[in-house]
Symmetry: C2
């Protein structure tokens, strides 16, 4: 089997070291060549050569700043945000979010559009492709090369980028990656499709408040419930890519999706919400819920406490299995976190075998509702960190 | 954070390549130097130098065999089993198992001893140390260097080798690694303590029938229920080392431990089993159960089907979360697998979101009841595969 080290040769050594320098500057820049050498253990001549290569590829740039120390001022290096863009799109049951991010982590655009999950998949693909095409055009118009696009979908996405099953969208067996490539007329950038919770977890790992956590679980709070699982520093993929499907966890009285999904929360706390037809956008209902919770409406507080307890019970199960350090609540759970978290934490403390819930803390995401879109871009940029660099600029 | 590549230098390159050659010979030996070069992409001079080093360390040896092909016969290389031994001990609620394994995978000894979990920890530690000491003496008497000892315990084991909680033994906060080192009078070999299910999963990965599976779950079937989780080729450890605690999974009617643990199975299928006092060794009861199942005793078949269903329900949850390829039933579940597996598979098919249970198959372990002991030895030998080689023999 393919665990353990692979053979190393000197080309690998250089690719590895290019990535090491790039990661070091991302984490610690602005930093001088001497600083990189001291921190990485690479010798100064090697660092100079690696840095020259990365500047040629427009991944690093020099700034005029100097280190504040005795001796000759050193030229400082930072990530070059000007040359590239990565695009991510999040698909949910009621909206699309598109973001473009540059290498330096700057968000170049963040768009939200209504989306009707009950569309047949063909119309859904067109809507996604149209949004992706406009985001790519915007980046290109700014003189940037688009490195890639990743689309996040709530459901089972296989290794080929096909959506095998997405209950929240009513989709099954949609070759989303293939269809998008066609609709985008074979774009020059990479196109990938991934599970939304996986992407949101990658976004937290790269940009979140707990990006240092090597063991992090991201819980989506959209119309489908899913979990992105980072254990020992790596996102779990499994045999066919189908990890983190928590909706079917059986609790007293039903499944987690039935008891703690956004739909059931709304139905319980705002029984009149779908009086004038099915809900097509949950955002206004969540805003009403937040207002009612602030006013301490008993029905709302009861519903939130129950959902918090069910979430906590399911999270104790994840905690017993995976021993996370940080659990991040995302999506529509974020504005409701004040009321959900105390009930959930109490439940976790009760049902986790390890004392102190195994050290797990429960926090709301700071990335906003489009975390999976940000994660889609992060997935593109993460590829650079493992040495998969764009070709030299011509 | 520390994901992604680390700086590479030429010493690392050599250590990496020594491990690559060692792994290649383990997987494909007997093999010639030319064969290693062709398969690994390393050049022949490098391979010759690496092989010379590994022979000096007594990790490889030459055999007289020649490859059957045109041209000059080549000297073939295999792992050298003669110089080292690794020792593993499994602790369960009713017995200890000790094994010693050489580098070539040969079991040098396999001992089973009665063990009373209700012993206070001090007596338990003495019993484990005594067994370990005898196994080490046996290996030393054969002229082998003991590379290490790993003890597997059913419960929460932290990074320091302390047992935080082991309900099946009635232990909490026992510094097992520290106490063993004292009892063994600071042995020259490494001493480690790990969760039993983790070790059994490592044993399956190295020696089992499904050793190629990159996504494998091992379910212990001892007095405590636990799972060892291998996802994407790696054993999951989590923030504090507390993964795979499945006993508390909530099902209709109780927890998995209550509904599908060995104790409850025996109580239900053999209600007279503890008529003459608490059971201190489950093996004879399991033998009675197997006999009754072969005779199609209705009470026994009902109990086994129910336990199978509960296991299947819990496994569907693991399958939804981790998408394994292979799930291995171990311990006392092995002789009962014929009756447990059909009921469990039906339940998994029903409750797993992905079609075809996400591709997961359910099989009994072929490693016997001491899989965690074998895994304890495997953990010691696995360290060699990552380049942590013993010093040159003097």
């Amino acid at each position: 089997m393919q665990t353990g080290p692979q053979p190393a040769d000197f080309a690998d050594v250089r690719a590895t070291n290019l990535a090491v320098v790039l990661r070091h500057v991302r984490a610690h820049g602005p930093v001088s060549r001497a600083g990189i050498a001291a921190a990485t253990g690479l010798n100064k001549a090697t660092v100079s050569s690696l840095v020259a290569d990365l500047i040629d590829r427009r991944l690093l740039r020099e700034t005029g700043l100097a280190e504040n120390r005795i001796g000759r001022p050193a030229t400082m290096l930072v990530l070059d945000g000007s040359a590239y863009a990565a695009i991510g799109i999040e698909v949910t049951g009621d909206h699309l979010t598109a973001v473009a991010v540059d290498l330096a982590g700057e968000q170049l655009l963040s768009w939200r559009r209504a989306f009707t999950a009950s569309f047949e998949p063909g119309r859904g693909v067109s809507a996604i492709a149209s949004l992706a095409g406009r985001a790519a055009s915007r980046a290109t118009a700014q003189g940037r090369q688009v490195l890639g696009l990743t689309v996040g979908v709530p459901g089972l996405v296989d290794e080929t980028g096909a959506v095998r099953r997405a209950d929240a969208l009513g989709w099954s067996d949609v070759d989303l990656r293939g269809d998008l490539i066609k609709a985008l007329r074979k774009p020059e950038y990479d196109v990938a499709v991934d599970n939304d919770a996986n992407l949101a977890a990658l976004a937290e790992q790269r940009y979140g408040n707990h990006s240092g956590a090597r063991n992090l679980i991201y819980l989506t709070g959209e119309t489908g419930l899913g979990a992105g699982l980072i254990v020992d520093g790596r996102l779990l993929r499994g045999g066919r890519g189908f990890t983190g499907e928590i909706g079917r966890i059986q609790l007293h009285g039903g499944t987690l999706q039935e008891l703690a999904g956004i739909e059931s929360l709304i139905q319980r706390a705002l029984p009149d919400a779908d009086a004038d037809g099915p809900i097509t956008d949950f955002a206004p209902e969540i805003a009403r819920l937040t207002t009612a919770a602030r006013a301490a409406a008993p029905r709302t507080l009861d519903a939130l406490r129950d959902v918090g307890r069910h979430l906590g019970h399911a999270l104790s199960l994840l905690t017993n299995l995976l021993n996370p350090e940080t659990i991040v609540l995302g999506g529509y759970f974020v504005p409701l976190a004040t009321w959900l978290i105390p009930a959930a934490q109490a439940e976790m403390a009760t049902h986790t075998l390890a004392p102190d819930a195994g050290g797990a803390i429960l926090v709301p995401s700071v990335l906003g509702s489009g975390a999976a879109a940000i994660g889609g871009a992060a997935r593109v940029l993460d590829a650079l960190d493992t040495g998969n660099l764009p070709a030299l600029a011509v």
